[in-house]
């Protein structure tokens, strides 16, 4: 009996290891390729470089067309941090209103907000672009951030609404009896209890913003404003000579902050998702 259990466990672990090798192979290949000379990358599936070189990192750190590498990193950080701050602040307030304040048209507005989830981004690109363009805001970060500060990320609003609905109303009522209005009920009671939802939102928003490509591509023209994902594509232009080595190096460098962010916050991420069901 015990032997069968051990055998099963062994088989399970062997399968898990095999699966993770398959899953991780591309990532490892990318990291190792960044140390290979440019012409040994494509068409070569081996992991270990025949010759090691740091040339690719030198190219990547050298920047693109006079724009230093640090500029891309800084832009990405600015966009990501502001996106997180804006989304968390605006979504939390909006979610509180939907969950706790009764005002005329609440249900309709909630339905409309959920409806925007069904609207693919590509449908609104052009009208949005025309709008921001006539407002003279193209080539600034405003088009990329304005929506984030106005709770336009319906997914997070919805997530937080559901979370607040799970918090017992008795807590609000107790605050009410102590003389709190909506402002203080939100700030002193609900907000501290929303920590798991806020952490989940922050993590996802950071990663989405860090990886966002289409928005910056359309709205930013000045290379000094480009974030990392656009710079990343610059090395592989099919119409001129492609530098895959530099691209791999840049990709590794671009992934480091996200990976670090994930390692630091993964505890909360898993906790956050787990406690979603516990209702505060």
């Amino acid at each position: 009996m015990k032997a069968t259990r051990r055998l099963r466990s062994l088989v399970f672990h062997a399968a898990a290891v095999a699966a993770s090798i398959v899953v991780l192979y591309p990532a490892v290949w990318m990291v190792m390729s960044s140390f290979k000379p440019g012409n040994q990358i494509i068409g070569n599936t081996s992991i270990l470089p025949e010759t090691w070189t740091l040339e690719n990192y030198v190219t990547a750190f050298g920047g693109i067309g006079g724009v230093p590498f640090t500029s891309f990193v800084w832009n990405s950080v600015v966009l990501a941090v502001l996106s997180v701050v804006g989304t968390v602040a605006s979504s939390a307030v909006a979610a509180y209103a939907f969950a706790r304040v009764s005002f005329p048209g609440r249900n309709v507005m909630f339905a409309v907000m959920i409806g925007t989830l069904l609207l693919p981004f590509h449908v609104v690109i052009i009208p949005q672009y025309i709008m921001f363009n006539s407002a003279g805001l193209v080539n600034t970060y405003v088009p990329l951030l304005a929506g984030k500060f106005l709770a336009s990320e319906a997914f997070f609003v919805f997530l937080m609404v559901q979370f607040i609905r799970g918090i017992p109303r008795e807590l609000d009522e107790a605050a009410r009896i102590d003389g709190c209005g909506h402002g203080r009920t939100f700030g002193l009671v609900i907000l501290p209890l929303m920590r798991p939802a806020i952490i989940t939102t922050s993590i996802f928003m950071f990663i989405w913003s860090w990886n966002d490509f289409l928005g910056p591509l359309l709205y930013l023209k000045d290379p000094d404003l480009f974030p990392l994902p656009i710079a990343l594509r610059q090395y592989v232009d099919q119409t001129s000579v492609s530098d895959y080595g530099a691209q791999m190096a840049m990709a590794v460098l671009a992934l480091v902050p996200v990976a670090l962010f994930f390692i630091i916050f993964q505890r909360y991420l898993i906790q956050g998702v787990a406690t979603q069901g516990l209702k505060g």
Binding site: G43, Y129, I130, L218, P223, V236, T239, S240, S242
Partner: protein, 437 residues
């Protein structure tokens, strides 16, 4: 009732706003590209191109020279890679805000031109834009229905490359001068036979019928113009089938580079990994081939067809100005500077193709034996063979070209026959291309 009235108010408001917007953009069109350039006014121009970081550095250098010469003009630049470039431009085109000056490709010229997005630069000829240095056939390649929508900056033409080191290893001579398409097929079979013993196995060539441009090249050599003046197909299903059948023997005898391996090494080609002896493509690929293989790459003219060895120039790149630009005169001046200024020719070398004007060609500091020198020499050698202007691709060319390539892959995988290929491609082309007026 109340709601309906409100809604109509909103619609009216939106319509009024739209009118106001069009009025605004209409007002700026007063200055023409043919007006003399104002050297006092502070002008800002946007310049957009696709390309890698090397090209970005070159452009920045050229723009600096321009700003030195025209101190009142400030050029702001933007650049992304090829695919992303068109995503961004399409969005801008939808809102009528294309950059003042932008790099343009022949395959997109008609599409943007038909939508009225591009400025007819012929107004600026002899005032702000000097095109006397361009050959007539080349300049004509940038016109759509009489309007000069793009100015070619550089040329390329098709060529056959062979890897001299690989040929030496397998003991083959390159194709002889004046070789025909049939000679080429025989040569590929022989090279594949001789290369079978190599490790890795060397193939003579690839199944070239999968590239629409080679078909167009062949049609021109048969005296058939591939597209009509109003942008329709000018060849029959029989022509296409005959072209595809011409290499059927090579496919059946596995003499061409296998599709499975092609897919494995994409985006490189068999030629770039020295597993293929010869490849036909645009002559500006030479630099990439030399860099990729590190071997001795040689260049030959395309094979001769029924009517001889005619070739055509393709503008490897054009410069266009936006129809909505506030500064058409300055935009034309910038284009003029980029195509004529010898110093700009020196900066770019042949990285965008061989410069279109003699002034820039002569200004290039070509090292003997360098890739730049060989490509420039090749274009001078074949100049006599170039009797045609490039067939102007039709609207939707990018899509029909990609479909041709896709169907050819299906053909290599033996999922379709030549007849099915032709039938499906013509059906696709009929759906994709705008109907004749």
């Amino acid at each position: 009732m109340r709601i309906a009235r409100k809604a109509s108010g909103v619609v009216a408001g939106a319509a009024a706003a739209a009118l106001a917007l069009t009025a605004c953009s209409g007002g700026s069109g007063e200055a023409g590209a043919g007006d003399a350039l104002d050297t006092e006014e502070e002008i800002t121009l946007n310049l957009a191109w696709w390309g890698d970081d090397t090209r970005a550095a070159l452009y920045e250098e050229a723009v600096e020279l321009f700003e030195e010469e025209y101190p009142n003009i400030d050029v702001t630049t933007t650049f992304v890679a090829w695919d992303d470039y068109w995503t961004a431009r399409n969005t801008e085109a939808a809102s009528g805000t294309l950059p003042d000056v932008m790099q343009m490709d022949l395959s997109y010229l008609r599409q943007y031109g038909n939508n009225g997005q591009l400025l007819d630069l012929s107004e600026a000829f002899d005032v702000n834009l000097d095109v006397s240095g361009l050959e007539e056939e080349l300049l004509a390649a940038g016109t759509v229905e009489g309007a000069q929508l793009g100015i070619p900056t550089s040329t390329n033409t098709l060529a056959l490359f062979y890897n001299a080191d690989v040929l030496e290893r397998i003991g083959m001579e390159p194709p002889a001068e004046g070789y025909t398409w049939d000679d080429l097929n025989d040569w590929i079979v022989e090279a594949t036979e001789k290369g079978a013993g190599e490790d890795p196995v060397v193939f003579g060539g690839f199944d070239y019928v999968g590239t629409l441009w080679f078909f167009m090249q062949r049609l021109i050599q048969q005296g058939i113009e591939p597209f009509t003046e109003d942008g329709q197909l000018n060849f029959s299903e029989e022509d296409a089938a005959a072209f595809l059948e011409s290499t059927a023997e090579l496919r059946d005898s596995d003499a061409v580079y296998p599709i499975e391996r092609t897919k494995q090494i994409e985006p490189l080609t068999g030629f770039m990994v020295s597993e293929q002896a010869a490849e036909m493509t645009w002559d500006n690929f030479m630099a990439g081939y030399v860099a990729e293989t590190g071997e001795n790459i040689e260049i030959l003219p395309m094979p001769s067809g029924d009517n001889g060895p005619q070739q055509f120039w393709k503008p490897s790149m054009l410069l266009s100005a936006s129809a909505n630009t506030d500064q058409p005169a300055a935009a034309a001046t910038l284009i003029d500077f980029l195509i004529n200024e010898p110093a700009v020719g020196e900066i770019f070398g042949t990285s965008k193709g061989v410069p279109a004007t003699a002034a820039q060609r002569d200004a290039m500091a070509l090292e003997p034996g360098s890739v730049d020198e060989e490509v420039t020499q090749y274009e001078e050698d074949v100049a006599d063979l170039v009797t045609e202007s490039a067939p102007l691709p039709v609207e939707g060319f990018g899509a029909i070209e990609a479909e041709w390539k896709r169907l050819h892959e299906e053909l290599l995988y033996e999922n379709v026959t030549v007849d099915e290929f032709v039938e499906q491609w013509f059906a696709f082309a009929a759906d994709t291309m705008p109907a004749a007026e």
